[in-house]
Symmetry: C2
């Protein structure tokens, strides 16, 4: 089961490398190649996978970065997810798709089969169960999984997610948490975690711990390290209760060669990204 | 301004033709061509645009149907949206994207520029204003628009959208309606409607009328005709108060050649789709 696999990977390293790649992030020697933008980005991503596969739990591809480049970008997305999986690593498609049943069925086909096949897809459940259940056959038959948006850490997450509900005083995101638990119940693996996971930001560590109690069989994708706020110590505190998450960092890792004391714009740049990935892993695990 | 353009088109015909095309929908002679699936779908879509451009307000492409086919499908999506716009018609990308600011900026680039450029994009605001505001520069400078998910008509829309809020007893979707009104205020055109519109289903006509009062400057995309429930009379009742919407039908129109008394699997199939589109237009307008 995919979430068992991810849980076991995360015990070794909780780091999810975010390949939310933009052309600006590439070292000059790749920018200078006589290739399309998508081809350059693919080459960059492959170098990163090669350099970090043994110290990363998984890779998350933010599909928006690829859609922004049109067809050439979608080809790069396809090549990247294929390369991650070919290397035996777990590929998370960060697509946050959400639509009614007949449409979600098409998204499931698009992201769990064919050119864009990933192991786990992020989805948005504003439309309720209909936006999630069409993926269940792929969970049952094809070792796939979901991360449903639960509580995000962006400033305007309060616009709706934090509104209090009349019936029981829960916040909206807590009601979403209950539904995620319910949807995931038939898909709990040996690790105790369900194939229906959740995306939760780390801006509010106390709230994260409350969700950990509320949703004990939910595995989390946490986009909270580095740029979005959370520290290694925050994460370790959560892990003392349960090893319930992978922690994503995108820009913080994949621009390490640009932000190093001695930036590297040539071949071998990926050594600096490996170094930063290792540092992130240790920054979390040293507190445990 | 795009929503003024759409409003004026909708006065003539409120019909939005949904090109949510699947290979099954094609007449046999197109299925038999020695082309890729995406190429066959593109040819089908172009025939439909040719046959209906003078009697449709706009075209809505459900991008999931194209993502389901991988890169070949995305090429068909690109060709289709380009063809719609080249014919002077309004293209709505039904993508329901929703993410934090930096990511939504990438989606805005992807769907308002380049290969996938449309005039209006559907978006999901579960993450709040951050998921919507990155599109505003394109509204201001590039004549673009949005339809934000408000109240959908699928069975599980009640899971979250209809939860009552503690503060004021509003339902969640009504709170979303207030935000859409607020976000749209700077972008109101001559028609009185804002470039920030909303997606509202027609399953509950009384609730639709209440939203019409609550959001008087919001133009609606209504996926409610035919398959999803609403009738021409329901819609006409709404239009008596204001001509605030385009009404989408997808399968109901683009499979007309298959469902006709004498099905057509050969060239000229599109005449039956035109006939059905005209019938839909008249089914709504005859009540006014």
């Amino acid at each position: 089961m995919i979430m068992d696999r991810l849980y076991n990977e995360a015990l070794k390293s909780p780091v999810c490398v975010g390949l939310d790649t933009k052309i600006d992030f590439l070292p000059q020697y790749l920018k200078d190649k006589d290739w399309s933008t998508g081809e350059k980005i693919t080459a960059f991503n492959k170098k990163i996978v090669d350099a970090t596969a043994d110290i990363a739990a998984c890779y998350k591809m933010q599909i928006a970065c690829y859609e922004a480049l049109g067809l050439d970008g979608m080809k790069a997305y396809s090549e990247t997810v294929k390369y991650v999986r070919k290397n035996g690593k777990i590929a998370i498609g960060d697509a946050k798709r959400g639509d009614i049943t007949s449409t979600a069925t098409q998204y499931a086909k698009g992201h769990f089969e064919g050119d864009f096949e990933v192991d786990i897809l992020t989805v948005n459940a504003y439309m309720g169960e209909d936006a999630v259940s069409p993926y269940f056959p792929y969970i049952e038959n094809n070792e796939k999984g979901l991360f449903v948006l639960l509580h995000t850490s962006n400033p305007s997450s309060r616009d709706f997610q934090e509104l209090k509900l009349e019936e029981d005083g829960q916040k909206l995101y807590e009601a979403v948490g209950d539904k995620i638990t319910e949807w995931g119940r038939p898909f709990i693996g040996e690790s105790g975690y369900s194939a229906v996971g959740a995306v939760v930001g780390l801006t509010f560590p106390e709230e994260f711990e409350a969700l950990q109690d509320q949703c004990p069989s939910t595995f989390f994708l946490v986009p909270g390290y580095g740029a979005q706020g959370g520290t290694g110590k925050d994460i370790a505190n959560i892990f003392k209760k349960s090893r319930c998450a992978v922690i994503n960092s995108s820009r913080g890792l994949i621009t390490a060669h640009q932000k190093a004391e001695t930036p590297c714009e040539t071949e071998g740049f990926e050594a600096l990204i490996r170094e930063k990935t290792l540092a992130m892993k240790e920054d979390i695990l040293k507190w445990l």
